[in-house]
């Protein structure tokens, strides 16, 4: 699995981050994972500004986005990404604990590519992450400009 794209995780809960990375590691999908801890940091990364100002200006293969985030929440990040000519090419998967219909609807309205409810069961969680990783970081043909290593 050499051809795994860069995965951007936007998640404020370190435990969720650890579990997600563990799951990705399990399937060797974790060779390039960027973790941002809130919406603002995620946008900084995507726009290469703030502490990411010096990073090469390329896009991740997929963004795993939590909805409930400090500062700028997930839906706002999604809105900004999908209304930016350049950024809207990045596939966004909402990965959230929320089963609320209104979150689901809002996300799809804003143009989310997939909406995944984090399963409580660890196996299911690992499976979900694995499938997401495999699909978005390996199988899916990414738009030009995003990174594949």
């Amino acid at each position: 699995m050499s051809n795994v794209g860069r995965i951007l995780i936007v998640e404020d809960d370190p435990k969720d981050v650890e579990l997600t990375i563990t799951a990705l590691e399990e399937y060797n999908l974790a060779n390039e994972v960027i973790v941002t801890r809130d919406g603002e940091e995620a946008l900084d990364y995507l726009y290469s500004r703030g502490k990411y100002a010096s990073r090469p200006n390329d896009l991740p293969a997929v963004m795993l986005l939590d909805l409930k985030l400090p500062k700028v929440d997930g839906l706002e990040v999604l809105r900004q990404v999908k209304s930016d000519e350049n950024l809207k090419l990045v596939p966004v998967v909402v990965l959230t604990s929320s089963r609320e219909e209104k979150d689901l609807i809002s996300s799809y309205r804003l143009g989310v590519n997939a909406y995944v409810v984090k399963p409580v069961d660890f196996h299911e969680f690992v499976n979900a992450i694995k499938e997401l990783g495999v699909f978005w970081a390996i199988i899916n043909a990414v738009p030009p400009g995003s990174v594949r290593k």
């Binding site: 809960d13 435990k15 969720d16 579990l19 563990t22 409930k68 959230t96 604990s97 929320s98 089963r99 609320e100 219909e101 984090k118 399963p119 409580v120 069961d121 660890f122 196996h123 969680f125």
Partner: protein, 496 residues
Amino acid sequence: MTNSNSNHRNLASTIRRYFLATLSVGMSLETSLFLARHNFEGVGFPIFLFGMALIAWYEGTGPAIFALLLSSIAFNYYFTAPIHTLYVTRSEIPYYVMFVLFASLVTWFSAVRRRVERDLTQSRDELAKEVVERTQQASLLDLSHDSIFVRDNNDIINYWNRGARELYGWNSEEAIGRTSHNLLQTVFPLPLDEINAELKQTGRWEGELMHTKSDGSRVSVSSRWSLRRDELGKPTAILETNNDISTQKRREEEIQSLNAELANWSAELEAANRELEAFAYSVSHDLRAPLRHMIGFAELLQKRVSGTLDDKSSRYLAMVLESAQRMGELIDDLLTFSRIGRAEAKMTSVSLDQIVKEVLSEARMETEGRNISWQISSLPCCHGDPSMLKLVLMNLISNAIKFTRQREQAMIEIGNSHGSPHEVVVFVRDNGAGFDMKYVHKLFGVFQRLHHADTFEGTGIGLATVQRIVHRHGGTVRAEGAMDQGATFYISLPKS
């Protein structure tokens, strides 16, 4: 006939009147002659005048003139020289002319006086009649329960009925002659000028007034004013009818305050609902996350230490995992349950057959390896929200599958039975563990379970969800069963 009769009577009366005139003249003549014979001089003159006056008074103008004529002739013949001729000597002419003039004058006076008297009598009779009429009207008004009074153009009260006395506490002697607005300390809903303008224009006015009674207490009245005009259209009086609406008013105010309270409650309820929604949201998000972590890290731990832990430690770890998982199920079921209350039902015509088919295909996992004999009748359509009704049948059918687990040969029947013409009644019957009818009231409650967790797993929310959905459709649920003899669940739904 009547006409000729009355003609007859008129003729007879005329004849009688002229006869009386003749008779009167005759008697005056006889009396005068009799007195003259006994040497009373000059009495003929007044006696004739007296007779004519009588006739003019009692028999009217015609007979009076007739009597005047006869008297003139008789006076000429008997009392002016030369006597016993119709000639009058030159010296007697003034005397005779005097007689005729006096006679005419007396006749005329008498007739005029008579006419005046007749007119007066007529007026008096009319007046008496009107007084009777008015008195009757007034006593009729007095019978009314409404408070009625009449005031003139200067608002001076000139009539005050029993109802007014009862309402305000003043009797008519006290009220009549007083200025009504002063007496009652009237509070008007709009400027008095406007009220009077409307009254003048339309002849009436209606509205609510505030009055003060004799004991100083205030009373709200519904007031109706009518303007009375004379023949020339000039306003002469105002009839004011007042009804006590204090009670009504108080009730209205009570209703208003109750409504306000209700609106308050409803706002509070809405706020509570929103809070509940926020709570459910945070449950779904915030409670699930730590649970996921517990399970995740416990599993990772399990994986790392597998083989190195003693049996007891492994069992403890497994129990931590199991409990966390069960908590996850409980949270999920509770969220589903709470969502039913908040979700908007999308009502449409629903094919229950189709839903049963879907549920059965989704339940295939649970029925694998089981020996279940299904008996499924064709079901009617009903009116409802398809996804909610699917949840209902899913719960009932998976319950039936679950509680027949210990049967060699499980039997599950899905059918419809007769209800009222407006409803569809569907039942799910099984030959499973059943329940004691003693506890039937607990069956549909949240977290109510009638079986031990180690026999039949479950969260105790399924049937509560069923009931909640069916109630939202305006239907009913009921259950029949017996220990170890299976159970039947009936749901009624509105017909499409």
